[in-house]
């Protein structure tokens, strides 16, 4: 089932299915390495607030990325 990243429980690992947003949002996420198909690990989140993710399938270590609530409502993911 596809849900927005904002609603994912911390500790889960999810796959990015779709990014719904303007080209600006899109390109920004992409340049950070968040693109369709990537596996994200949700490290921590605040209800109705930002989410910290890590790109789980990157080679080497992935720095953590903080995504604001608005951003997370545009990233649709699926349990991986």
């Amino acid at each position: 089932m596809m849900i927005p990243l904002a609603l994912v429980r911390p500790g889960s690992t999810v796959r990015v299915i779709e990014i719904r947003g303007g080209r600006g949002v899109y390109s920004k996420l992409r340049s950070l390495g968040i693109i369709e198909g990537k596996i994200l690990k949700v490290i921590s989140s605040i209800n109705g607030g930002p989410v910290i993710v890590e790109i789980a399938d990157s080679i080497g270590s992935s720095p953590r990325i903080v995504l604001g609530f608005g951003m997370c409502m545009k990233i649709f993911v699926e349990e991986a």
Partner: protein, 684 residues
């Protein structure tokens, strides 16, 4: 390398790649800081000298790619395509090759003469990542040199490479293969460019322009349209795009994916992960420090410790400074018999006391910024930004704004400048305008004096309440500004959260000095002019020159322009607030800088600063209500002219006037509200 003077080298890199450290190491820390044309994004230029050849190093903004969506990225790519630097050094973060390579590929597509500094290889190895840099160099087709900027390892080699490669020309690269259909389309577009706008491909790489046109990059479209025949090209490209979209529905996404595929192939070949990822310090710390409840408590505790650290360590130095400057130096100048008395007074009472009082805060500011630089470099401030983001977003700000605000508790001038890191234009302007509401260290002595004079036992709580007001008002004013002036949706909040590291003392020291320097510089310029002006108004009056000792004589001062001005204020606009003329004068002087307020009151009440609280209490200069109103007023109204000057230079005169206007109106209204509330409760 040909023999030519005036080489320009551009330094590019993703945020947190250690680009600034490389810049500092190459240029020896000597940099000229300005703005990129038309925007308030910082441009740093330094010079490096190798074998008597001088090379200018331009630090490009930290970016992830070269798209047209972010101002930083447009600036960087325009610099590369328009200014044609003789060499581009891409600083690549070895702990996260994947992300850094996206930028490197984008720069290679620009056909710039490029070398790679593979930085932080030590950290990568600690994490079990070993990179075959020779293989990487082979795959990218450009030199790659491993470096550790903070220790200087590899820097000598980097200099040699710069010398060797600077000024070389670079041919076209097909580093990314976009697949059969797109490659054909790229060739078609190149041919169209060749036929219709040959000038453009003499100036820019034609493959790059073609790729960008197919991606529908608005900035490049604008560029092409500015040439005769450009509109024709765009029409043809639209047709090609329409045809392609029969096969590929999202061209831009497809092209990004091809680039990522190229990166993944490279990464797989060059990286050997020797250790599995284990639980790191960062994991452990973050499980507490970014916890939704524990995190908030930790943040409050950490910030409290920052203040305590700054105040405890600096107090003896501040005292020493003020004894040396306001006591010793002041008296020595007055004692110089060869100076005419007016000049001695100007130098001693005006310049030394005025600027000296401001400068005596330097140790406090330095300690505060030292602690803050430590927290920033450890990586903690980004955690605070994360924690407050939800709250701040309700007021139209993102969590990033917390950093300028915290800086503002030290000094508002660097706080206004720190808003530069906020990408969203509306948000940045809002942040710059609310930064003065962060109650800076100069306002604290005013609170202390009043609190000890009138509130005694609860003085601590009363002073603390000012800090709460400060944050609350900053957020509320931000909300008003976002609703009324800087409208528009918030840009999405995205921020990298680097792993915790033990910062290096020289880097922290440099950061601390950079901010403290701004404070010092402002004290020496704007505030100096301000105090001279006030001195003039104080030693003269309607009857002419009152004598050089006017400033130490409350009786004479009463008849100066300043005294009259104070009376005019206390009898009219400040009348409902019940502040006498001396307090009014202190507030007028405080317009220059808050550091001057306490000193002025001491002079006007004819008493030393240390005895001031007792004297104010004895004279009943303030009731609890008028005292609290005074503190509120001091919190809100113009922090100092230096801050206003900074807002002006960052954003223009219009916003500087706006800042002054809202601060004065808000300060007066709230002070009046405190008084009215006091009346209501019957305490006066």
């Amino acid at each position: 390398m040909s023999k030519k003077e005036g080489y320009i080298v551009a330094l590019a890199g993703v945020p947190n790649s250690g680009k600034s450290s490389i810049f500092n190491k190459l240029t020896g820390g000597r940099a000229w800081v300005g703005n990129w044309p038309g925007v308030t994004i910082e441009k740093k230029i330094g010079t490096m000298r190798i074998n008597s050849i001088e090379i200018e190093v331009v630090d490009l903004p930290g970016i992830y790619g070269l798209t047209a969506y972010s101002l930083d990225e447009i600036i960087a790519r325009n610099f590369i395509v328009e200014e044609n630097p003789d060499l581009v050094i891409v600083v690549v973060n070895a702990t996260n090759l994947e992300r850094s390579l996206y930028l490197a590929l984008s720069i290679l597509e620009l056909e710039a003469n490029t070398i790679v500094a593979l930085n932080m290889v030590d950290l990568a190895e600690e994490q079990g990542i070993v990179i075959d840099h020779e293989k990487l160099s082979e795959l990218l087709g450009i030199p790659v040199i491993p470096t550790v900027a903070v220790t200087g390892s590899g820097l000598k080699k980097l200099r040699e490479l710069i010398l060797e490669y600077v000024g070389r020309s670079k041919g076209r690269t097909n580093i990314v293969d976009y697949g059969y259909d797109l490659e054909r389309a790229i060739r078609d577009v190149e041919k169209i460019l060749q036929e219709n706008v040959p000038e453009i491909i003499r100036k820019y790489p034609s493959r790059w322009i073609s790729i960008k046109l197919l991606e529908w990059d608005e900035d490049v479209i604008r560029k092409v349209k500015s040439y005769a025949g450009g509109n024709e090209v765009i029409r043809k490209v639209e047709k090609i795009r329409a045809e392609l979209q029969n096969k590929i529905d999202d061209l831009e996404l497809f092209m990004t994916e091809r680039r990522y595929q190229t990166i993944l192939n490279i990464v797989k070949e060059v990286i050997k992960q020797t250790k599995a990822k284990g639980v790191t310090w960062t994991d452990l710390l973050d499980s507490i420090l970014t916890h939704r409840f524990l995190g908030i408590f930790s943040a409050i505790a950490v910030l409290y410790m920052l203040f305590r650290f700054a105040f405890e360590i600096s107090t003896p130095f501040v005292d020493l400074f003020s004894i040396l400057i306001n006591g010793y130096l002041h008296n020595r100048i007055l004692g110089l018999k060869f100076l005419p008395s007016w000049l001695a007074s100007l130098l001693a009472d005006g310049v030394t006391n005025g600027v000296g009082t401001v400068v005596s805060f330097l140790p406090l500011i330095m300690m505060f910024f030292l602690g803050l630089a430590f927290l920033e470099d450890v990586g903690y401030m980004t955690r605070i930004a994360y924690l407050v983001d939800k709250l701040f977003s309700k007021f139209g700000l993102s969590g990033k704004t917390v950093i300028p605000l915290v800086i503002g508790f030290g000094c508002n001038v660097p706080a206004v400048m720190a808003t530069r890191t906020i990408e969203d234009e509306n948000e940045r302007k809002t942040a710059a305008l609310i930064a003065p509401l962060a109650t800076c260290s100069a306002r604290l002595p005013v609170y202390m004096v009043i609190a000890y004079a009138v509130f005694r036992q609860v003085a601590g709580a009363v002073v603390l309440s000012m800090y709460i007001w400060s944050v609350a008002l900053a957020l509320l004013v931000a909300l008003a500004l976002r609703k009324l002036v800087f409208k528009g949706p918030s840009a999405g909040f995205v921020m990298e959260m680097p792993p915790y590291i033990m910062p290096r003392s020289d880097i922290i020291g440099m950061k601390m000095w950079e901010r403290s320097k701004r404070f010092l510089y402002k004290a020496g310029s704007v505030i100096l002019i301000g105090v001279i002006f006030i001195w003039l108004l104080s030693v003269t009056g309607p009857s002419g020159f009152l004598g050089a000792n006017a400033l130490s004589s409350p009786r004479l001062l009463e008849h100066s322009w300043t005294g009259l001005l104070g009376k005019a204020f206390s009898e009219t606009i400040f009348r409902p607030l019940n502040w006498d003329w001396r307090i009014s004068v202190a507030l007028i002087f405080g317009f220059i800088a808050k550091e001057i307020v306490v000193g002025t009151m001491a002079i006007l009440y004819g008493i030393g600063e240390s005895g001031l609280p007792a004297a104010l209490a004895k004279l009943h200069a303030f009731t609890p209500v008028t005292g609290y109103a005074f503190m509120i007023f001091v919190l809100i109204y113009v922090p100092c002219i230096a801050t206003i000057a900074t807002i002006r230079s960052e954003m223009g005169s219009k916003y500087a006037v706006m800042a002054v206007a809202y601060e004065l109106i808000l300060a007066y209204t709230l002070a009046l509200a405190v008084i009215s509330f006091g009346h209501l409760l019957g305490v006066m």
